[in-house]
Symmetry: D2
Subunit: 149 residues, 4 copies
């Protein structure tokens, strides 16, 4: 993913307002905060929006790898349009690709990926992506996802 | 302030959606996060909403004291209705009183106060609350504020 | 508690180094971070230091009220000497009083109190402070605690 | 970088104790917190340890890209041994490579990279890595850094 990605390259969006504390000493949103924003996007899509249990149930999602690029500084009080797509669903893992746009701005401010592994809550060992998750994740796959990752 | 405070006891509201990371190991919004929410309420009221410069200008607001009561646990994915009033404006300080309500629930979940001191950005010494701040702050004073504080 | 409190007024100390992100846009440790520092002090005293289970066990500690005063700004890269005492142990609650000092400085930078309620993890209803907690908490009560609170 | 990286593959270490709030709802250190730990490692190496001004001076470091792999969950109350090396110094950028180890454990728990761009504080445009930074950064380059990145 790079700066050429457009809003249309994502399948699902939510609005996330920044908070005053998101800015760090440099007056921009701190880089670690981006990851909290991306995490919130994924977890909100899975849980509150699609009714999947990612919390206290038998299945948990652990992050194996993630990464982020910063093209243009977001900062409080921006409202963020956060976009999501699923690039790959493996046996026990999923690759999310995401982008953040300042409200009213079509240039992408940041792109990121997260590889989550589904684990059994008790054993903490990888487990097959359950069918109900698989169905929800497939709903936000885009034809071009793989080639851009 | 206590559990009997109502929505009508506040003069200005904004909506603040919780984020997944706001919850701590106990599955509720962490107590320190409440203070970030309250801070965001004050700073958004002053800055983006009323155009006052609380950032890089000549005047900064430093917190001298704050406190919070927790009546009912807020937690992700709650959307918070955050209410604000000003209880007292002194020569160089202001006392904010605030309350948080889960959207759709009229029982207060948490109340808090913050005493901020206005300081000169260079000297970091207290300075008189400027007239433009004073005017904005007076706009959210309520007749009953002082007696409930 | 006020600015006259000394290091000797606390019964147990730990060192907590600040992190770069603890500072906010004003270049000082953010007020909400103080609460995370105080929380870390209490939880480390109870858990890792004294072997009490505050995590996934049958007993959890929920904060009912807390408050903090800020006398002198702490900021990264300060190392904090964080001091703790217990002021009161009730049937199902405990009142902690704490202070933060910059390493090498005997003037208190911040003082705080936290009232925690012990709850049953399943019902989330208040429960009697268990004897093993009570014993640990009594170990950091000071004769003068009550009168200064 | 991968799981085979050893402590010897890093040139400089500091200890960073975890805090109770670093754990998220899953009881492990939250992925965004890793980035705050890595940031703290870089900023502490540059500022307090080597006396470089990364704060209010003429030069600031903005992150262009970062990424992290998670091999083994760190969690409070772990003390982290955080290791740093510099893999590349460009005209206006630097690539840091880092690893986190739980104290007393020689298996790497997480590895990460950060690409920082040096910018002029006023214009926020890239600027040449200053000589005093360059000298400090070269001090933690390792012969094998480039090939492992």
């Amino acid at each position: 993913m790079d700066e050429t990605i457009k809003r249309d390259d994502f399948a699902w969006f939510m609005k996330i307002p920044t908070r005053w504390i998101d800015n760090d000493m440099y007056g921009h949103m701190n880089n670690a905060r981006y990851y909290s924003i991306y995490e919130n996007l994924i977890m909100t899509f899975l849980g509150p929006v699609n009714g999947l249990d990612t919390g206290t149930g038998a299945i948990r999602c652990f992050t194996a790898e993630n990464g982020c690029r910063y093209y243009d500084a977001l900062k409080y009080p921006d409202v963020i349009d956060a976009g999501l797509r699923v690039a790959r669903i493996g046996n026990s893992s999923v690759r999310y690709e995401m982008g953040l746009f300042a409200e009213g701005n079509d240039n992408i401010a940041s792109s990121a990926f997260v590889v989550d592994v589904f684990v059994d809550a008790d054993s903490e060992r990888p487990t097959r992506v359950p069918d109900n998750f698989r169905q929800v994740l497939e709903g936000v796959m885009l034809p071009q996802s793989e080639s851009n990752s």
